[in-house]
Symmetry: C2
Subunit: 207 residues, 2 copies
Amino acid sequence: MDYVRDGAEIYRRSFATIRAEADLSGLPDDVARVVVRMIHACGMTDLPKDVRFSADVVTAARSAIKAGAPILCDAKMVASGVTRARLSANNDVLCMLDAPETPGLAKALGTTRSAAAVELWRERIEGAVVAVGNAPTTLFHLFEKLDAGWPKPAAIVGLPVGFIGAAESKDELVRDSRGVPYLTLLGRRGGSAMAVAALNALADPSE
Amino acid sequence: MDYVRDGAEIYRRSFATIRAEADLSGLPDDVARVVVRMIHACGMTDLPKDVRFSADVVTAARSAIKAGAPILCDAKMVASGVTRARLSANNDVLCMLDAPETPGLAKALGTTRSAAAVELWRERIEGAVVAVGNAPTTLFHLFEKLDAGWPKPAAIVGLPVGFIGAAESKDELVRDSRGVPYLTLLGRRGGSAMAVAALNALADPSE
């Protein structure tokens, strides 16, 4: 069968196709590199129009990761997808969804497990990189904790997906990120693969 | 903040929104339920027009999973995303990408690690459910092995994503699935989250 078998060549041609087709002109270079990788993960070159970000998000997230900050994820798929070889500081990549306390917390707080798991980030949130690739309630709950005085993470990759709360939670992130540098994609699209792609690009710019 | 905190209600409203917006009329009921969950994972209600399938794919995959067939995945994210509580037979969910033999095999065969990992499925492929959520080369390599006489899996969930080979590998799956029931999405879209959604729906129809 006739197909490209060379992994490096597949990457090279993929990124060349993305750069040829996607309109990256509105993005600073460092953000564009992250968005290219997000496009690579989903196959859709129209993402740039929906991307929103703080100008300092790449610098803030990369510095934090290089300095060993933990990466706090809302979903196991996000945590499992991060390429450990790109984390030069051997960072902790944590998802608390399956922690033994989470179901009880969710019940006590009257919220989802994804939101309740945020409570267990308390000791690690300061200076961390937060990655949300699934649940809008994770993002909403984080806003509530920041509003209640929690220390700030270094950056938020806010890419929840879906039909109930996803667009709204990302609109709120853009409206008021609570002083935290952020990267997001407006609307219903997002997801764990896109969040992983963003994290991998933030950790290390190499393609 | 005003948002829905009840997980069951979020699911209910999400699936209701999908069924209200997506045109599922061309799909048999059992396939439609799988596609609804794929839409849920990506936030895009226009998937149905690109979905292709064998009429018996849901029956074949579900029977295999109920009977304890292994689930063979191309990516760790796919394997990590499968909801174990939906696998009543406590099925093995395997990804061989990080097996110690894989890099050497890739070099020897002149192909990607994702394709080389297929070689390590040999003893488990018969009657298995294959899920490809990342690499077109996994799907191409599997075709080559089936053409060379390997025993057949029970079903193929073929959802590689991206720009080089993804659309082509899925076109080939539709053109000639080697007698294996399949479910796929034409074009560049796909990915690990969508593959996981399909697997979870195939394993168990409950929403």
